[in-house]
């Protein structure tokens, strides 16, 4: 069965891509991913905020104690063989590129316009085949409108696009008033792929201690539905590739995503929970599923359940509970 797909302009034997995760943090892991049949490696994000904060923290908590006391002009050995900053990430990109033959996609989460561009260029220079921009920010300013937020992101995307040549994917959070409209604006800036949606550390509340605690748990198939909806309403109305991330655990999940328009299906939690062998298993089951339903290829069903092509487009447009309510009345 032909499961091939094209994502970010790259022809892949199948759409099941291990998403950004610790699985690719080490070369051994990267090799195992390739051996397990990963058609592409997506690396975890380089977080500008984290890099900058660590540099500033070291500057203020380590450097500030230097040359301050006669007996101890410093408290640490001279930094050796490493630099605070993006070097280790960039070296990792280079090493991964040397290690595998499949395409390597790096990810970036920036915080400043300068940072986005600078790190994007460095990542391109390190040899990444494509770059996934992790456009995650939490608007907290009551003066900033939804349009302002979108504009701000577009400025960043535009800046990056004008400085790097490799294909660009943009990974979004689910919270956009009009996803199709924003997708179109991204496309007009030259973005090559849209990835829906980011899963992030969500704040939880410690009731006893009145503290905010951050947690990240593995995804479940239940989270997929939101993403299917998003894929379906964008698919067929953009030239960008589409990818799903978050909630794909089974072949059935993957098949649904493809039917809603996904060119790439990123999996993380399922691989972390069930091991890398799960990738091949999902791939095989997808093939069986296509055969059982007498499809010719994966390409044949891709986007078949999108808003533009599905038999009941109104199902995507109506609010779910009204639909159920109407059914009940009937």
């Amino acid at each position: 069965m032909d499961l091939s797909t094209t994502y970010l302009g790259m022809k892949l034997p199948h759409p099941l891509i291990p998403g950004a995760s610790p699985l690719a943090d080490e070369l051994d892991g990267v090799r195992r991913l390739e051996d397990a049949g990963a058609p592409m490696i997506v690396l975890r994000s380089l977080f500008e905020e984290q890099l900058v904060q660590e540099q500033i923290a070291v500057h203020s908590d380590v450097d500030a104690h230097e040359n301050a006391f006669a007996e101890a002009l410093s408290y640490f050995p001279e930094t050796q063989g490493f630099h605070f900053g993006p070097d280790s990430y960039l070296e990792h990109v280079q090493r991964v590129k040397r290690t595998v033959s499949v395409p390597v996609v790096a990810s970036l989460n920036g915080t400043t316009p300068g940072g986005w561009v600078e790190y994007a260029q460095l990542i391109e220079g390190a040899g990444a085949d494509a770059l996934e921009l992790n456009l995650f920010l939490v608007p907290t300013d009551p003066e900033e409108s939804g349009l302002d937020v979108e504009d701000r992101l577009l400025v960043l995307v535009r800046a990056v696009r004008s400085h790097v040549k490799i294909p660009l994917a943009v990974k979004l959070s689910p919270f956009y008033t009009s996803l199709p409209h924003f997708a179109r604006r991204l496309e007009s800036e030259g973005v090559d792929a849209l990835v829906v949606f980011n899963r992030f550390y969500e704040p939880d509340i410690d009731v006893r201690n009145q503290q905010v605690v951050r947690c990240l748990t593995l995804s479940s198939s239940g989270e997929l539905l939101l993403r299917l909806h998003a894929l379906a309403i964008v698919s067929g109305r953009t030239r960008m590739s589409l990818a799903v991330t978050g909630g794909v655990h089974t072949a059935l999940d993957a098949m649904k995503a493809v039917m809603c328009g996904a060119d790439g299906v990123q999996m993380v939690s399922a691989l972390l929970a069930d091991g890398l062998g799960h990738l091949a298993s999902v791939r095989a089951q997808m093939a069986l599923m296509l055969e059982a339903n007498e499809y010719d290829s994966l390409a044949q069903v891709k986007g078949s359940m999108s808003l533009t092509r599905c038999p009941d487009p109104k199902a995507y447009e109506r609010l779910n509970y009204i639909h159920i309510l109407q059914n009940w009345r009937q």
């Binding site: 080490e26 890099l51 900058v52 660590e54 540099q55 500033i56 923290a57 070291v58 500057h59 203020s60 908590d61 380590v62 450097d63 500030a64 104690h65 230097e66 040359n67 301050a68 006391f69 006669a70 007996e71 101890a72 002009l73 410093s74 408290y75 640490f76 050995p77 001279e78 930094t79 050796q80 063989g81 490493f82 630099h83 605070f84 900053g85 993006p86 280790s88 600078e118 009145q210 503290q211």
Partner: protein, 1191 residues
């Protein structure tokens, strides 16, 4: 020829490293950087002359170093070490052996004062002089260049002559002075030693392939002759040294002699001396000679073996009088060592010349041209004073020479710049950088010397920089500067910053005001100085620029740019370009963001720099406040205030106690106002837990309980609330900050659990800007101090109760957020009025006992901790000695009491002969009994009554504690600690465990944990931390506790109380967050919790007395790890650096750390089930003495 801007330490180490195969070291100021550089070079794979990387090994003490290096060189390896002071003294036994065995070896010594009446980290020749009889050759260098050159001479000559060398230079003055040094290339060094010598050394090495025996024991029949057999080697050595010097001259043009004379060839007066002072003397002699004088200076380079012929030959024939200057003191001797040698040498050479000796420069005391002139002037007198001192005013023994302080020899073609800053603002680093920019980018000669104060928080630094067209030979502080910068505005109100400004100098200040407002905010004294000296005045709001650029308090780049813009040392554009290049280079490892922000700072700085218009007259009404408050006691007013103000040099000999005994409780008089923000109490949300007070490192936030009536006369803003207590209803409670003593560390606010439940970010204490509330809070704190202290008898034995007791350790100079000092403060609260402390050298002895002011203090009865520091290595033994001494007094007192029982009354005697009842109530009762006893004794004319009166206080039990860091307890002092524990005697030991050598700058100790980066473990330590507690438990009779106040304060308090109550030895190992861990110590509480929760710092108490009741002695106070070690480690730079440098290796270390923690916990869990039999009594009572005979 390549030149570099380096200090004397680097100059010497650069040669020693390349000429050695084995480098054994132990950190000691001021020589530590030589070892650290060697470790750094080795870590980077830099080879020695033979193409291999030397083996750099850190030992547990200098004695260990000496043993290790002795072994290494006995195999024929080439070895070196670096040390100073007490460390050098610890090597002396091995030095005799190494020399006795004629083993080539060189040690490089940054000469430092040996501790006598006080410790001093600064420079003199006391340590070197203690090594005279060892048989080592002693070679002196007078400058960083000489430290480089003569290091090579020493390494070459030792191989030629087989006699080991002690090569020394002045600690700090040379070891830490930056100069442009002409470097010796590898080829130069190789040429100097020649090929055969190394092979010969190897051939003499111990090997089973050619076995020999060394270290025999010899008897009266042969030892003497055998000892004399080495004489020819000493006779020949001077020639070998001169040959090496000549070889050096051939290759470099720099010529040295065994004795170098400089000055008038027909001089009538000559000074003989060694060390950095030589340059001052030579430059002064040249100036005097230019004015018609006939004087000279003879520099002694090879002090041992002292070759008379060369010495005499170097002296001009015309000399009539000689003054010998020794930078050491040998009390009771006829004269100091060099003086005695010169007298003997002249006598043996048949030269009958008047010679006087004098002492100068002890503990880096300044030695200036004016002092040199004073010596020459003295020589001109008919009967010059002998055994004089110069540089001090000796109004006791009248040894000192009068000095004309106005005499100066500095020339106008040298730029002299002085910078006042804080340690934390990067001023020194920026100045080091400026020196390199100027020295390496131009032909200018440069000099940099940096003065640090002895506080670890808010430390002031003063940088002295000279730039000139000729080599700068001025190893003394600048006395007249053409550029003065004050990098911190508030220093203007604490110091006479402009005292060193010359007329017409540039004055640059970092001012937190708009340019137009700067003048009006200056204190009166500064305005007067600017006007009187016609200073060109500039200001920049560097703190604001730094804040805008996200650089925090790091104003270094901004001020450096302003300096270059104003000083004209380099063309402005060129200078700024070079600063940016330097930023890119020196901050590369810190990360691109740091580079970016600092580069930006260079440009922004210039746009914000303003010339300040100076009006015609002073306008300020406010003068600088008095150095100490007017109510401070006389001693503090006369002595301490002078030292605080930076005028300690002016104090005469009579001002000082002759035996190093100082009053305690002086820190409270030095109000430093370091904090920009301070904690303010909001009683509404306070739950009265006192956690803020217990964690405060500086006793700057305190709790008190008192009768409501005591509030009469309280300031209107004084806050109080009802004390929540069922047992003691109706009392009032206050939390009060000491606004000028707080360092603003934020640890208390982090620890505070009280919060506004509707707005939980508002706590019961909250940080607020200090300036607007300082007056109010000062008034509040004064009132708080005057409130009556709690009756200690009803202090509950817990966190809350302990913090209602008065701290007798306050306002130390420890780092902001220090993790050690809360334990000491707790100790002072629990047992302070009967506490004796033996304090190992290290951080705690520096913030505990470094002048000008010290934190240990007294209560209203005048009682408080008595404190002493003996050495680093002997502290457990010293503490045991204190305990044994106290016991001796107790025994005698009991004996006398028994003898006088008929007079005193049996009831009182019987009570006093019993053990004091437990707890504070018992102590109070016992004090009352002692008072009753005294009443009786004073009415009794029996001589024994007088003797007992002097001892009566010993019926109140004393609490003796040996305190120190992990460097002491795990490493250098472990042998003694082990022995002290083994004796079973009652002594308490507190280890303030920062897991690294903190005071000397982050070298690894045996307490450094898996995966932590430290000096000598640059990649992260790959062996586990020593389990000192477990080792102590194996004795079975030692109380052992491992505590972490930030994680479980209640367990800490319990452990302190149990340890003190336990009748045998006790050991508390206390987790102590430290700046050497590399994170914001405001978070030391949460981080301590993570240390425990991740299993990296398990908590327990091992109490042998529980065995008597059939319980297991060991109680675990923390459970299995609930978080991964990585959660703990990622928060600290010490682990993060290891992770970043080699993630794979770090992962292995991390896994090893987790496994080790699990293994350790498994052992503890097993131990916690073992019940020790009741027959293991911890300590046998000391035998009663026989009654003393009546006199």
């Amino acid at each position: 020829m390549q030149t570099r801007i380096i200090d004397g330490n680097e100059a010497a180490a650069s040669v020693a490293y390349r000429m050695s195969e084995v480098i054994a070291i132990y950190p000691i100021t001021p020589s530590s950087p030589m070892g650290e550089l060697s470790d750094d070079w080795a870590a980077k794979g830099k080879p020695n002359l033979w193409g291999v990387v030397p083996d750099v090994i850190e030992m547990q003490s200098e004695a260990g170093v000496a043993g290790a290096i002795h072994g290494a060189i006995q195999t024929g390896a080439l070895g070196t070490t670096f040390t100073a002071s007490q460390g050098l003294l610890l090597m002396i036994p091995n030095m005799y052996k190494i020399a006795g065995e004629l083993t080539p070896f060189v040690m490089h010594v940054a000469a430092r004062t040996v501790a006598t009446h006080a410790l001093s980290i600064f420079g003199d020749h006391g340590d070197v002089m203690a090594c005279r009889p060892t048989g080592f050759a002693i070679l002196a260098s007078n400058s960083p260049q000489e430290a480089h050159d003569l290091a090579a001479v020493a390494h070459a000559a030792t191989l030629r002559g087989r006699v080991p060398f002690l090569h020394f230079f002045d600690g700090f003055r040379t070891s830490h002075e930056l100069q442009k040094v002409r470097l010796l290339e590898d080829d130069d060094l190789t040429a100097m030693i020649g090929p055969g010598l190394v092979r010969e050394h190897l051939a003499r090495g111990l090997t089973p392939d050619h076995p020999v025996l060394r270290g025999t024991a010899q008897n009266p029949d042969v030892f003497f002759q055998a000892r004399e057999a080495a004489n020819p080697f000493y006779d020949a050595l001077a020639d070998h040294v001169q040959t090496a010097m000549d070889d050096l001259a051939v290759r470099t043009g720099r010529r040295y002699r065994l004795f170098d004379y400089a000055g008038a060839p027909d001089a009538d007066r000559v000074i003989v001396m060694m060390g950095s002072g030589v340059e001052t003397a030579q430059e002064t002699a040249a100036r005097l000679n230019a004015g018609g004088a006939k004087v000279g200076v003879l520099s002694v380079r090879l002090f041992r073996p002292f070759r008379i012929a060369d010495f005499v030959a170097a002296l001009p024939k015309t000399v009539r009088k000689i003054a010998v200057l020794d930078r050491t003191k040998e009390p009771g001797a006829i004269g100091e060592p060099l003086y005695q040698d010169v007298v003997t040498a002249l006598r043996e050479a048949g030269r009958d010349l008047p010679v006087v000796g004098g002492r100068y420069g002890l503990s880096s005391k300044e030695f200036t041209p004016a002092m040199v002139k004073a010596v020459y002037d003295e020589l001109e007198k008919a009967a010059p004073k002998n055994h004089f001192t110069v540089g001090i005013t000796d109004d006791v023994s009248h040894t000192s020479l009068a000095v004309d302080e106005t005499f100066d020899i500095e020339t106008g073609d040298v730029v002299r710049a002085v910078f006042y800053g804080l340690g934390s603002d990067g001023t020194v680093g920026a100045n080091k950088n400026s020196i390199k920019i100027i020295g390496e980018g131009t032909d200018a000669e440069v000099q940099g010397y940096f003065v640090y104060d002895s506080k670890k928080s808010g430390a002031i630094t003063i940088s002295h920089l000279r730039f000139g067209p000729r080599p700068i030979r001025a190893p003394y502080l600048i006395r007249g500067a053409s550029f003065v910068a004050c990098h911190q505005w508030n220093l203007l109100s604490r110091h006479d910053v402009l005292a060193l400004a010359e007329e017409g100098a540039v004055f640059l200040v970092n001012a937190p005001y708009e340019p137009g407002a700067v003048w009006d905010h200056l204190p009166r004294e500064a305005q007067d100085a600017i006007l009187a000296k016609k200073l060109r005045f500039y200001a920049i709001d560097a703190a604001r620029v730094a804040a805008e650029l996200g650089l925090g308090g790091r104003i270094n780049t901004i001020m450096q740019s302003a300096f270059f813009a104003l000083s004209d040392v380099l063309p402005r554009e060129e200078a700024l370009g070079k600063i940016k290049d330097a930023i890119r280079k020196s901050y590369a490892a810190k990360g691109p963001e740091i580079v970016k922000r600092n580069v930006e700072a260079v440009d922004v700085a210039l746009s914000r720099l303003s010339r300040i218009e100076v009006p015609e007259r002073a306008t300020a009404r406010d003068a600088r406040p008095p150095v100490v408050p007017v109510e401070a006691p006389d001693f503090v007013q006369r002595i301490t205030a002078m030292i605080v103000a930076g005028h300690g040099d002016l104090l005469p000999v009579s001002a000082f106690p002759p035996d190093g005994t100082w009053p305690t409780g002086t820190a409270k008089w030095e109000k430093r106002s370091l904090a920009a923000q301070i904690p303010i109490w909001d009683p509404t949300f306070c739950i009265q837990c006192n956690k803020c007070a217990i964690v405060c490192p500086h006793a700057a936030i305190r709790a008190k309980v008192y009768e409501p009536e005591a509030l009469a006369g309280a300031p209107i803003t004084f806050r109080s609330q009802e004390f929540k207590s069922r047992e003691h209803p109706g009392l009032m409670y206050t939390i009060q900050v000491a606004p000028e003593d707080c360092t603003g560390c934020n640890v208390c606010v982090e620890a505070c659990p009280g919060r506004d439940k509707s707005n939980p970010k508002h706590k019961a204490i909250n940080m607020e800007p200090q300036a607007p509330v300082v007056e109010r809070e000062r008034e509040g704190f004064d009132f708080f101090l005057d409130l009556p202290e709690l009756d200690r008898a009803w202090m509950t034995p817990d966190v809350k109760g302990s913090q209602l007791a008065e701290p007798l350790f306050e306002f130390s100079g420890a780092c902001s957020g220090c993790g050690e000092t809360p334990y000491l403060k707790l100790l002072s609260q629990l047992f302070g009025d009967r506490l004796l402390i033996a304090n190992a050298t290290g951080c705690s002895s520096i913030y505990g006992g470094n002048l000008p002011t010290t934190p240990w203090t007294v209560n209203r009865d005048g009682r408080g901790p008595a404190w002493s520091n003996s050495l680093f290595e002997d502290n457990a033994e010293f503490g045991l000695g204190l305990a044994v001494g106290v016991d001796a007094h107790v025994r005698l007192a009991r004996s006398l009491l028994a003898k006088l029982s008929a007079d005193i009354g049996e009831t009182l005697v019987a009570s006093l002969l019993e053990d004091a009842p437990a707890g504070e109530a018992g102590i109070r009762e016992r004090r009352a009994q002692v008072a009753a006893l005294r009443l009786q004794l004073r009415a009794n004319d029996d001589p024994d009554a007088g003797r007992l009166d002097a001892l009566a206080d010993y019926f109140v039990p004393k609490s003796v504690w040996a305190i120190g860091g992990d460097g002491w307890a795990y490493d250098i002092g472990f042998g003694g600690l082990d022995h002290v524990m083994s004796t079973g005697r009652k002594i308490n030991i507190l280890v303030l465990d920062t897991e690294v050598y903190s005071n000397t700058g982050g070298q690894q100790s045996k307490s450094t944990p898996f995966g932590a980066v430290a000096k000598f473990a640059a990649a992260g330590k790959d062996v586990p931390k020593k389990d000192l507690g477990l080792m102590a438990m194996t004795y079975g009779h030692v109380y052992v506790a491992k505590v972490a106040m930030g994680a479980k304060d209640a367990q800490t308090v319990r452990a302190f109380l149990e340890a003190e109550a336990y009748p045998g030895p006790s050991l508390i190992i206390a987790y102590s967050p430290c700046i050497a861990h590399g994170y914001d110590l405001a978070f030391s509480g949460p981080q301590s919790k993570l240390a425990v929760a991740s299993g990296q710092w398990p908590l327990y108490r091992f109490d042998p007395s529980r065995g008597l009741t059939g319980e297991p002695p060991l109680q675990l106070d923390s459970g299995h790890p609930t978080v991964s070690p990585i959660t703990y480690m990622r928060n600290e730079a010490r682990f993060r650096m290891a992770e970043m440098s080699d993630p794979k290796r770090f992962k292995r270390l991390l896994s090893a750390a987790a496994t080790h923690a699990a293994h350790r916990m498994a052992i503890y869990e097993q131990l916690a089930t073992i019940k020790v039999g009741a027959d293991v009594r911890p300590v046998p009572p000391p035998p009663e003495p026989t009654p003393v005979e009546t006199e």
